[in-house]
């Protein structure tokens, strides 16, 4: 097991550099000048832009820039063009909030989605299943950003029971979770509803697959209770593909976080990314891409490790 993890981590390294280099290349080949957004126009006229460009290393060949920035990052010296602060610090400041509501959304999506999938899969093509499946398809088709606005309209503007944006009441400081809670309800709800249809659909089809297997028939013919058969023999095996979906969902969630954070005014990673892209803040964009790549690679690894827990037949060598 330990060897397996070590080997997987080693395999991640080239993928990590591949992803980050390609994304850096794309960003650098795109038109746009970061200097134009760094200073107001009147300042820009006064300073020597060539010197500044040289200082920022923008005149080097792109691969050299990439290597330099990576080296700076690992020394903790990579500075955002825009904020003049280490990119790592900027991300670390905004990470907790993004992580908090994305993880909450995953938990809720599983807690709500698994029972629904179970109900559907036990009697496929029944009336109830049809209704649930159309519901899931509808959920899949709702634009999250629109849903967020509708929720704000209903709960903040009309009913006035939930705050529309921000993370804590004006003037309140600190990280009191209870003060933040009302601010997180709608963002979490939107993200959960975005995940829910996928969780339901995948679990349902995976369960239907499992329930038609021979060992389920064997379990039934042994005279086991239907509940035991479905939960212990069915659900447990059906969860394996579902776990892989959670791994695959992670990149999607980061995208969802961008939209949700901009709508609800949450100071998270997503908004940081939008601003960095608009301002051509290359160090920031590179760091964010690295961060995203690491998150995805790690979640893929964790997914594979969870497999072995769920299905002892899977051996990771």
């Amino acid at each position: 097991m330990r060897n397996y993890i070590i080997r997987r981590v080693l395999q991640m390294i080239p993928v990590f550099f591949g992803i980050t280099f390609i994304s850096f290349l794309i960003i650098r080949l795109a038109p746009g000048d970061p200097i134009a957004t760094m200073y107001p126009p009147e300042v820009l006229d006064r300073i020597n832009q060539d010197v500044l460009r040289e200082q920022l290393g923008l005149n080097d060949p792109i691969p050299v820039q990439y290597v330099k920035m990576m080296a700076q990052f690992f020394n903790g010296e990579l500075i955002s063009f825009q904020e003049r602060l280490p990119t790592f610090t900027l991300i670390a400041e905004r990470l907790p909030i993004t992580l908090l509501f994305t993880l909450l959304a995953i938990v809720f999506a599983l807690v709500i989605g698994l029972p629904i999938a179970l109900i559907s899969a036990i009697r496929p093509y029944s009336k109830l299943d049809n209704v649930l499946m159309v519901g899931a398809l509808a959920g899949l088709s709702v634009p999250q950003y629109w849903l967020a606005l509708v929720l704000i309209l209903v709960f903040s503007e009309q009913l006035r029971i939930l705050p529309a944006s921000g993370v804590r009441p004006v003037g309140a400081g600190g990280d009191s979770v209870s003060a933040m809670l009302p601010y997180l309800i709608m963002p979490t709800a939107v993200l959960t509803l975005g995940l829910l249809p996928s969780v339901i659909r995948y679990t349902r089809s995976s369960l239907m697959d499992v329930l038609s297997q021979d060992y389920i028939r064997t379990a039934r013919s042994k005279g086991l209770q239907e509940r035991t058969v479905i939960v212990l023999h069915g659900l447990r095996n059906a969860l394996i593909p579902v776990v892989s979906i959670i791994g695959a969902i992670f990149p999607v969630l980061l995208g969802g976080a961008v939209l949700v954070e901009s709508i609800f005014g949450l100071p998270g990673i997503g908004r940081l990314a939008v601003r960095a892209a608009q301002n051509r803040d290359f160090p920031m964009v590179l760091t964010l891409n690295m961060f995203a790549a690491v998150m995805v690679l790690v979640s893929n690894l964790v997914t594979d490790l969870i497999y072995t827990r769920l299905d002892p037949r899977i051996r990771l060598e």
């Binding site: 038109p31 709702v142 950003y145 849903l147 995208g255």
Partner: protein, 302 residues
């Protein structure tokens, strides 16, 4: 000796011809099964409606989509403006109709780009295997493990936001699943007898791929294509919503929803109606795609 060989060959040719002939009846049975699925039928009707809207927008829209009338700004829905007007006095209903002309083609063309790339990669990877497979699949893994929306946001924010660029970007970032599905299909198909038969008749790899393998993955491609259009339309909406997709004043459902974001309290209709259009359009593609999938699944033949 030669005679035996020719006999064998003619049997093989006959087998291949049979394989081709059953294809016709299969597609007829398939159509019948689709039409029995109420969800798919509703989806198809909705889809036709949207296509009609897109084509006929100039004839059915009561106003010009970009005509501003400041005197009429932020008017609530009324007989004059069915869905009200936005902050510049433009008619929401007319703009939403014209947006179908933008968003649906973006979805379809981006899907075509994704499909072409995905099919090529999947076919090559599955058929040839070896190092080609290895390289192409690692590339696919990379794409799939990347937060696409994140990437798209960066790219479209940087590379201008014209519609062709948008189509290309959306297409080139969403072929991953497709490539994997095609590869898996090819892997199982290339072991089938009819492919073996074609190969023993001396067909070239190109001919085997195009004549014998490709036609058999078309049904799956159609399902994937339909569902992909829905996804791409939603993503385009998201990008436009963030201001890095379709650029105003060209209407797209995404940028119309975004227009109303700041006006929620004063004018809810500015966001709400375009969102309903976007939702219905997406769900129509999803319903059709899902219906096609059910109709194709041999296990579901009831």
């Amino acid at each position: 000796m030669t005679r035996v060989q020719t006999a064998d060959t003619s049997q093989l040719v006959a087998a291949l011809r049979d394989a081709n002939r059953t294809r016709g009846t299969r597609s007829r049975r398939f159509a019948a099964r689709i039409l029995k699925n109420p969800r798919a039928v509703v989806g198809m009707i909705l889809l036709l409606l949207f296509c009609f809207m897109a084509v006929a927008a100039p004839f059915i829209a009561p106003y010009e989509p970009e005509a501003q009338r400041i005197a009429d700004r932020l008017k609530p829905p009324s007989a004059d403006h069915w869905m009200g007007t936005d902050a510049l006095g433009r008619d929401i209903f007319s703009r939403a109709l014209y947006a179908a002309q933008i968003s649906i083609p973006i979805g379809i063309f981006a899907m075509v780009v994704a499909l072409v790339v995905g099919v090529c990669i999947g076919l090559l990877s599955g058929y040839y295997g070896g190092w080609i497979d290895n390289i192409l699949m690692r590339l696919t893994d990379m794409l799939l493990s990347f937060p696409i929306f994140f990437l798209l946001l960066t790219i479209t924010a940087l590379f201008g936001r014209t519609i062709p660029v948008l189509i290309l970007m959306l297409g080139l970032t969403s072929w991953g699943v497709n490539a994997r599905v095609v590869r898996a299909q090819v892997l199982s198909l290339k072991e089938k007898e009819f492919v073996e038969a074609a190969r023993s008749l001396g067909a070239s790899p190109g001919r085997i791929i195009m004549r014998h393998i490709f036609p058999n993955i078309v049904p799956i491609l159609i399902v994937d294509a339909t569902l992909r259009v829905a996804l791409v339309i939603l993503i385009e909406g998201g990008l436009s919503f963030l201001g890095v997709g379709v650029q105003p004043p060209t209407p797209s459902w995404g940028n119309m929803i975004s227009d109303g974001g700041a006006l929620l309290r004063r004018a809810w209709w500015v966001s709400v109606f375009p969102g309903i259009f976007l939702f219905l359009c997406t769900i129509s593609f999803n319903l059709v795609g899902d219906g096609l999938r059910d109709a194709l699944d041999p296990q579901l033949q009831r």
